[in-house]
Amino acid sequence: MIEIVNITKHFEDICALNKVSASFPEGEISVILGTSGSGKSTLVRIIGGIVRPDGGAVIVDDMPVYDNETVGQRIFLIPEEPYSPRYMSTAELVKFYAGKYEGYDEERLKALCDSCSVPMKTPIRKLEKNKGLLAHLAIAVSMKVKYLICDDIFSSMDENSRKLAAQMISSAVRDWGITAVIALPDTDLLPNISGKTYELETVCRS
């Protein structure tokens, strides 16, 4: 389970997050809702262990997340603008990740790429934007991880791609037991996703 307790984060004079608390149960989809500038991306990065909060803690399976390799092995983070090294294709990028995590499901990845018509041998940067984002999502879902943390990559997708994305995430949770935490500005973006919703402005503040 992922638990966030009194997370506070400031950027110079701006308070991005003020004592935010929540828990995201295992085997489910949790949605963090918030408008632009509400601190969704910051919270996602904190949960993913990239950014250290000024106050509070993120506990994953009873362990702190920040700079923790054991916890890191269980989490896969997709940021709002995913990066892929130049010339790296989906097949190459997944092998790069596989060296860091406990491996990936090759069959699963192939099936997902086929269903989204994502060519595996073409450099991701050369793919059309929607396909590129779906490629990243397919890689994330194929990794043998317990938690998928996904920032808002959906706002920049077209409707068809969002449907494919929603299917991927739902089947990952349903069939492979992944816990997904996704950040969205609006639930209408992914109407096919059902899960607990946490509105960032009104999430528990102790």
Partner: protein
């Protein structure tokens, strides 16, 4: 260790090969390839060669460091690499070693090329291998230090352009402060006997100071090894300190700093002070030297204005807003406080230092050196049994060893008068380096200024420089003849007024005859008639094919009096 933390290995290999080619092109000249072909590196080729090493190493280290750590300035790339399940410590280690591997792969390929082509072309010998090895170690240590500084700069900032600017400032920061101290406090260079005691602190000074004697074939291997060992220790300490600093900064760097110009808010003020303070002090010194009247007031105004302008410029770089920059007047006031505190301390210390004059009974003997004289005396040579020059003595060391003046009254009077009057107020100031030897065995070095308009001062000077033992302490030719078997390849006359060179003779006998007449001419040497004017000509006695020479100055009055006798001596 995860060597594959960085993706895109093909590009890495290509870049490494590119560096290898560059290293071969620059390093091969002085490493085994040149040794193999030439057998040695003459001393007159050393300087540009070692500076090439230095510049290329600097550029490579900055480029490689930037290549490895510039990802910190892109939020996308930070998200990518920092989301991987690797601790920050392991990540740093992996990126750092990957980054270094570019350079080391290049060095290995370069060495292989040198060995392949250089060794079959000639027989370098074990000394050449030893020198190449020492040069390589020094260059690697320099590379690592500059690399660490670059990494530190890139972790300090969230912007690549700002990081490179910070990097350049940091690399040359000690050199910058040495210049500030040199200008603000005269004692730093003037009051040290020929500035020989000033230790090399900056990495570039340490490197260049050791590389010259290390790769020169005319310096004995044991002497080279001594220079190498001392420089090695200093560079190793620098490399270690900078490594610890850059690693610590990397581990503490917030990931979100990719957005901002300065990664650590607390570093903001420090970076500003690091730039504003030395620049303001330098501008103040420059203004002081440019004005004759009201120079002290102009210096202060200049420092204040520079501090304000540079503070605002730095703040604009950080905040990207002129109004925000101008609002931060508190930091400008603090910067001014720091500037004037440092300025006050430096001036106070300098005043006290320069005001030192030994007490009358304290001084045993002394040596003096008029800096202008040093220009005219060439080398102080050590000859072997066969008359060949195997070593030479630095000008300062020769004077300190050979000049023992005991007219303490004269020098103490001159030193006392020097303290009473600022040399800027003198119409004809003469700087004189003094090496005091005290009764208790200690030595002190100071620069004193003599007002040459004062006839009393000139009388004192003549008491010091008139007698033979002054000249014996400066010019080797005053006491020594050209040794038996020494090879005097040429005697030349250089007319400084007409700027003409004339070959007038060769051989030991002619040289000794000419030197004998010159010694007679030098009895005219004093500050009233002779020394007050410019040197009119030089006699150059060249040894060993021109590599070494004695230079004997001639003043106009001496030429008028002894010119014919000199000509007769070489006919």
């Amino acid at each position: 260790m995860n060597w594959k933390l960085f993706a895109d290995h093909k590009r890495r290999i290509l870049i490494s090969l590119g560096f290898a080619l560059l290293i071969v092109a620059v390093y091969s000249g002085a490493m085994l390839l040149r040794y193999g072909v030439r057998g040695e590196i003459p001393f007159y080729e050393v300087k540009p060669l070692t500076e090439n090493f230095c510049i290329v190493t600097l550029v490579l280290a900055v480029f490689i460091g930037a290549y490895g750590f510039s990802y910190l300035h892109s939020m996308k790339r930070v998200d990518f690499y920092h989301s991987l399940p690797v601790t920050a410590e392991k990540r740093f280690r992996s990126i750092y070693l990957n980054t270094c591997s570019f350079y080391f792969m290049g060095i290995i390929v370069a060495l292989a090329v040198c060995l392949m082509f250089g060794v079959p072309a000639g027989n370098p010998g074990p000394a050449a291998f030893a020198r190449s090895g020492m040069a390589l170690v020094l260059t690697v240590l320099l590379f690592l230090t500059i690399l660490n500084i670059t990494v530190y700069a890139f972790t300090l900032s969230g912007n690549t352009v700002i990081a490179i600017l910070i990097d350049i400032v940091l690399i040359f920061y000690i050199d910058l402060w040495e210049r500030v101290i040199e200008l603000t406090c005269d004692f730093a260079t003037h009051s040290t006997f020929f500035a020989t005691k000033r230790p090399d602190i900056s990495v570039i000074d340490i490197y260049l100071g050791a590389m010259y004697p290390t790769i020169r074939s005319d310096v004995s291997l044991s002497v080279s090894a001594g220079f190498f060992a001392r420089a090695c220790i200093k560079l190793f300490i620098w490399a270690t300190i900078t490594f610890v600093m850059c690693r610590r900064k990397y581990l503490r760097r917030p990931a979100e700093a990719a957005r901002s110009l300065v990664a650590f808010y607390s570093s903001h003020m420090l970076i500003k002070l690091m730039v504003v303070v030395p620049v303001a002090l330098l501008m103040g010194n420059s203004t002081y030297d440019s004005f004759y009247e009201y120079r002290n007031v102009m210096q202060i105004i200049s420092m204040i204005l520079t501090a304000i302008v540079v503070s605002i410029l730095v703040e604009i770089l950080f905040s990207r807003s002129l109004s925000a920059a101008v609002r931060k007047w508190g930091s400008i006031i603090f910067a001014l406080f720091v500037i004037f505190t440092i300025f006050g301390i430096m001036r106070g210390v300098e005043k006290k230092y320069n005001a030192y004059v030994p007490a009358t009974g304290e001084l045993e003997s002394y040596a003096v050196f008029d800096p202008l004289d040093s220009y005219y005396y060439g080398f102080n040579l050590n000859f072997d049994e066969d008359g060949h020059v195997y070593d030479y003595l630095d000008a300062a060391e020769y004077v300190k060893e050979n000049m023992i003046l005991t007219d303490t009254e004269a020098i103490l009077k001159l030193a006392g008068r020097s303290v009473e009057k600022d040399y800027h107020e003198m119409m004809s100031p003469l700087p004189l380096q003094v090496h005091y030897r005290l009764n208790n065995g200690t030595v002190r070095n100071r620069l004193i200024w003599i007002d040459m308009e004062n006839s009393g001062n000139r009388k004192m000077l003549n008491r010091i420089v008139g007698p033979a033992y002054y000249k014996e302490g400066i010019w080797q030719a005053f006491t020594e003849n050209v040794p038996e078997d020494a090879n005097v390849t040429s005697i030349d006359y250089h007319d400084l007024m007409e700027d003409e060179y004339r070959h007038v003779g060769e051989g030991r006998e002619s040289a000794n005859k000419l030197i004998s007449v010159w010694r007679d001419a030098m009895t005219m040497y004093d500050y009233d008639h002779v020394r007050y004017k410019e040197v009119a000509a030089e006699i150059e006695v060249h040894f060993d094919g021109g590599m070494y020479m004695w230079v004997l100055p001639l003043y106009e009055d001496m030429i008028n009096e002894f010119g014919e006798a000199m000509l007769e001596s070489i006919e």
